[in-house]
């Protein structure tokens, strides 16, 4: 791969941008090593002899006349066993290894491979010599962690007859198999690992429409604004509204087989939080530590800005690789605004014509390209396995203003919108998702799933609940002018029910041991109880019972404490349903009894 190798000299240094001379033959997006310190950079513009390079490390101390050498290869990640449980910077350098080498602070010019070259993996071949294989076919497996069986794939674009393949203990660099290329006599040597350029989407056979929800255990999401496996969602909100917590909750509890969390230009402590907490938390399905299915990409706000731009591509390429194994992968990017800002900074230094708010005109196109890499697909490979990649991006608009170009560019492509609002956060209503303005466009494609897996009446129940919340908003406006007492008994019942929905169902405390995760059966029973109460209370109201009497019934207390009922004791929720019936009946009887003697 020496073709495309070019050397030039630095002409200009301005922040993360270096312009080099003598680079006429250099290719766009090739990786270059800048100066004798060999800082890693990527060519983002070529004009005549001049190449503009975004440098992924601090450029202080660089000056004109120092050498620049192109490697002739695009920015790539290493894909193979060892990804899971790793924490990488924006260009896939393992941060824990860096720490061992240079200490607590990140210095420059460190080159560490993404995958360990020493570690040996137990490879079990599942294909055999003589098999005709092509891109995406499975050669064998490696037990990467207790949760992840790493399937070793023939890299896309490679095909032939297996001439050599054996099980055994290998490093990622050892040759585990040889293929005889179809007819043309080329020999392919395959390893446990292969490389893939981050800016190129990995191929699949066919795109499918999503039909299963990504179960998150977060009630407001699962019940009202679900995201499909293979779907896309966007979480915009002002600072402190809860974007990170929601994404952490998804990373913890979503029923994905692999989780990729990208800390893109955010806080160092938030990555530490994940690093310390995930090994301690257990996956509710397997009982294994959550870290055993997680890959972290951390390019915090104080780390070099250009690597922030690369980090989301590094993350999504790793995600696609696991999708290609036939897994359901969930990717979280926090925050895509920082990625866009990195793009804006480079664009400004390149003196490109600024678009809205100084962002480059190609921002919407780049955002769309990123989210389009999510999806549910039939993977390459003969077995026709299905993989899914769900992507959730946080957006941090200035002042929480949704007209922000990054929000708008994102909303154009994603199908789910969780709108976080500060006034809800101030009331400590978490997750601070506005139930009136948020939406999910997956309801239709998920309907069949909900009907068979949750309940026949689920869709109906959800619609009724939404209607009540909508009515509440209107009634509150009126009540603001005339007072609650001036509302009809029926309207007061609606207000009371809506309050129960908000406070006892939508509100969910991420820090409570039990409340943090709610299974679908529990969600169903919780919501059913509230709606049963509402239905029977309506009848009572028809008979003249006052809404206030109804909400003073002791069973209301039990409804609001339902959230703390452990998953193993859901029968309690059915008992509550019984009590609702008897307590309301008691009220009606008292009422009717009181009237009769008249």
């Amino acid at each position: 791969m020496t073709e495309g190798k070019v050397t030039g000299l630095i002409r200009k240094v301005s922040g993360p941008l270096v312009v080099a001379d003598g680079m006429r033959k250099a290719r766009m997006f090739d990786v270059v090593l800048v100066s004798d310190k060999k800082l890693i950079g990527e060519i983002i513009e070529v004009k005549g002899d001049l190449a503009s390079i975004q440098v992924y490390e601090e450029t202080g101390g660089l000056g004109p006349g120092e050498p620049v050498e192109s490697t002739g290869e695009p920015l790539s990640v290493e894909l193979g066993p060892g990804l899971v449980e790793s924490i990488y910077d924006g260009i896939q350098r393992p941060l824990d290894v860096i720490r061992k080498q240079v200490g607590d602070r990140i210095t420059r010019g460190i080159r560490v491979p993404g995958l360990s070259r020493e570690k040996k993996w137990e490879f079990t071949a599942t294909a055999k010599v003589g098999d005709e294989v092509g891109g995406g076919d499975i050669l064998g497996t490696v037990p990467e962690t207790t949760l992840v069986e790493h399937r070793i794939l023939v890299p896309p674009g490679v095909a032939g007859t297996i001439t050599k393949l054996s099980s055994g203990s290998f490093t990622v660099d050892d040759i585990i198999s040889e293929l005889d290329g179809d007819g043309d006599g080329t020999k392919h040597e395959l390893k446990l690992m292969h490389k893939w350029p981050v800016r190129v989407a990995r191929p699949y056979r066919e795109r499918l429409t999503p039909e299963e929800p990504l179960v998150t255990g977060q009630r407001v999401i699962d019940a009202f604004f679900p995201i499909a496996k293979g779907g896309t969602a966007c979480v915009p909100g002002p600072f402190g509204a809860g974007k990170t917590i929601i994404q952490h909750q998804l990373a913890k509890w979503a029923d994905a087989e692999i989780v990729i969390f990208i800390g893109c230009g955010e806080r160092g402590n938030e990555m530490t939080d994940v690093l310390m907490e995930f090994p301690e938390l257990t996956d509710p399905r397997s009982g294994e530590p959550l870290m055993k299915r997680t890959v972290l990409v951390a390019n915090t706000s104080n780390m070099p800005v250009a690597a922030r731009e690369a980090s989301i591509y590094t993350g999504i390429t790793i995600a696609e690789y696991f999708r290609d194994m036939g897994y359901s992968v969930a990717l979280m990017a926090d925050s895509t605004s920082r990625w866009a800002e990195a793009l804006r900074e480079m664009s400004g230094r390149l003196e490109e014509m600024p678009g809205e708010e100084g962002y480059p005109a190609y921002l919407p196109a780049r955002a769309a390209q990123f989210y389009e890499r999510a999806g549910r697909v039939i993977c390459l490979g003969k077995d026709g396995r299905i993989g899914a990649l769900s992507a959730v991006g946080a957006v941090s608009p200035p002042g929480g203003d949704l007209s922000d170009p990054v929000v708008q560019a994102t909303l154009k492509v994603v199908k789910v919108f969780w709108s976080l609002e500060d006034w809800l956060a101030y009331e400590r209503h978490f997750p601070a998702i506005n139930w009136l303005t948020s939406y999910s466009l997956y309801h239709d494609s998920l309907e069949a799933y909900f009907r068979t897996e949750v309940s026949e009446e689920w869709g109906e129940m959800r619609a009724t609940t939404m209607r009540i919340l909508q009515q509440e908003a209107e009634l509150k406006e009126i009540a603001r002018l005339v007072g609650v007492d001036a509302l009809s008994n029926r309207d007061r019942l609606i207000l009371g029910t809506a309050k129960a929905v908000r406070e006892d169902f939508l509100h969910q405390n991420a820090f409570d041991e039990i409340d943090t995760y709610t299974s679908f059966p529990k969600q169903y029973k919780m919501l059913r109880n509230i709606m049963t109460f509402n239905r029977q209370a309506r009848e009572a109201v028809e008979q003249g019972v006052q809404a206030e009497e109804l909400f003073a019934l002791p069973v209301n207390g039990e409804i609001s404490r339902s959230r703390y009922v452990p998953e193993s004791e859901l029968d309690e929720l059915d008992e509550i349903e019984g009590k609702i019936g008897s307590e309301i009946k008691g009220l009606i009887e008292k009422r009717v009894g009181a009237e009769e003697p008249v």
């Binding site: 240094v13 210095t107 402190g240 920082r338 200035p398 603001r480 007072g483």
Partner: protein, 464 residues
């Protein structure tokens, strides 16, 4: 050995363009000597072939293209460090300002500081008792946190910051404390307030002060917080002290940054602030924290004055996106005569839940705080409603919440400038206030906690 250039070509604002240079490096330190022997310092902002763009920290007043002698020093801006810095006052560029001797440095460090490896961070989870209920009870400060005070002109942020510096303590913990005080463009009087407060309490012996006043060169402010944080890092990680850093006022810092950006004719972002303001601020704020295996820590209290009290102004907005919460001061509370005028609803400590609870403060702390927040929010809502409808039109519950909100402001928020409440006092006060509310409305606290801590609930027996 160091080559001297007299090839200044242009001077614009605090920037000098120097031509015909060779071997100049990005971000290196520059000295500019004036004919009268005065030496100013600056750094390289950009090098393009044989020209270098230099930013002068002390401004370019009096510098001429003809006579400036320019030297490139081949290193970044450094600060000499020693334990003897404790008790001393420096100017914004680290020169002694108190008439005392020069510091004999143990070592020198580049003030830019390298980013901390996220895997080296230790999660902040030690409760700091500030003695202020609105903070300890609801927006708890944790060792290693960065928690700014969002304020406005005329609000008592200085008093609050000084009170925190005075009272902050980690109970039952050992180790040395230090305060690093960094003034950027504040008035002489405000700086004096802090200094005399430190003197009065004896804290001055454990303090290092970097002072850039409103009358000092604005551009110098860009270096001042980096000086202060470099000193703080030395004290925290080399001397293993727990350091509280007060940075005031970040708004002046950002304005200096905007001045440079404007002089460079960069495409401005919102309100003329540069597009990289977020990144720039993060290189300061992210220097707070703890490191695994080190005993020291850096806790930051930056003060941000919000222009027009607007929280969505780029400076508080971007600060809020980086820091781990915010304490917001409120003009209405201030007018009511409540000190500290902390509006707890939009205030937040993101690390609260890691720093409180059983074994740290008390097991009911988190739920009690959530309950107080929710009740106060509802009380404020009821008060708004009462403005329109009259208090009499409120439902009995709303009336209770109305009363609660007043009592909360008067008893929980309000305290004196020297009042140092223990966390137990703060928690007890919280439960006392909840007695105002109907039992059925206490949804955020657990029944067992009500049983244990709610003393005089009239309806208690009835509900049980």
């Amino acid at each position: 050995m160091v080559k001297e250039y007299m090839t200044a070509q242009e001077i614009a604002g605090p920037l000098i363009l120097v031509g015909e240079v060779s071997g100049v490096k990005y971000e290196e330190l520059v000295e500019v000597e004036l004919p009268d022997g005065e030496v100013r310092r600056g750094k390289v902002l950009e090098v393009n072939e044989d020209t270098a763009l230099v930013q002068l920290f002390e401004g370019a007043t009096g510098v001429s293209v003809e006579s400036a002698r320019i030297r490139f020093l081949g290193r970044g801006l450094e600060l000499g460090l020693s334990r003897d810095m404790l008790g001393r006052v420096f100017d914004g560029l680290g020169h002694p300002k108190d008439g005392g001797p020069q510091i004999i440095p143990e070592m020198k460090r580049d003030v830019a500081g390298a980013p901390m490896n996220p895997t080296a961070r230790d999660y902040p989870n030690e409760f700091i008792q500030t003695g202020i209920s609105a903070i300890d009870g609801l927006n708890t400060l944790v060792r290693g946190q960065k928690l700014p005070i969002f304020s406005g002109f005329g609000l008592p942020h200085a008093e609050l910051a000084a009170q925190i510096a005075r009272q902050a303590a980690v109970r039952g913990a050992e180790g040395e404390f230090a305060v690093v005080f960094c003034a950027m463009g504040i008035t002489f009087e405000e700086a004096e307030y802090f200094i005399s407060d430190f003197r009065r309490t004896g804290a001055i012996d454990r303090a290092v002060l970097f002072v850039n006043l409103a009358s000092d060169p604005a551009i110098e402010r860009i270096a001042t917080p980096r000086m202060a944080l470099t000193a703080a890092e030395y004290l925290a990680y080399d001397m293993e002290m727990h350091v509280l850093v007060i940075l005031t006022d970040m708004t002046n810092y950002c304005e200096a940054l905007r001045e440079i950006s404007a002089a460079r004719k960069e495409v401005p972002g919102r309100r003329g602030y540069p597009g990289y303001l977020y990144t720039d601020l993060s290189t300061l704020y992210e220097r707070a924290g703890r490191i695994i295996g080190k005993n020291g820590s850096i806790t930051q209290i930056p003060v941000v004055s919000m222009p027009e009290d607007d929280k969505t102004h780029p400076i508080p907005d971007l600060t809020g996106y980086i820091t781990e919460g915010q304490i917001i001061l409120d003009r209405v509370l201030h007018r009511k005569g409540i000190y500290p005028p902390i509006n707890v609803l939009p205030s937040l400590s993101r690390l609260r839940d890691k720093g409180i609870g059983e074994g740290k403060t008390r097991e009911d702390h988190a739920n009690l705080a959530n309950q107080l927040f929710a009740a106060y929010a509802r009380g404020k809502e009821a008060q708004e409603l009462a403005v329109i409808l009259g208090e009499a039109a409120l439902s009995p519950e709303d009336k209770a919440f109305f009363k609660f909100a007043d009592a909360f402001e008067d008893r929980y928020l309000r305290q004196t400038i020297d009042e140092n409440r223990t966390i137990e006092e703060t928690l007890t006060l919280g439960w006392e206030l909840l007695e105002i509310l109907p039992l059925s409305e206490l949804k955020r606290v657990k029944p067992a906690q009500i049983e244990k801590y709610l003393k005089n609930q009239p309806k208690k027996a009835e509900a049980a």
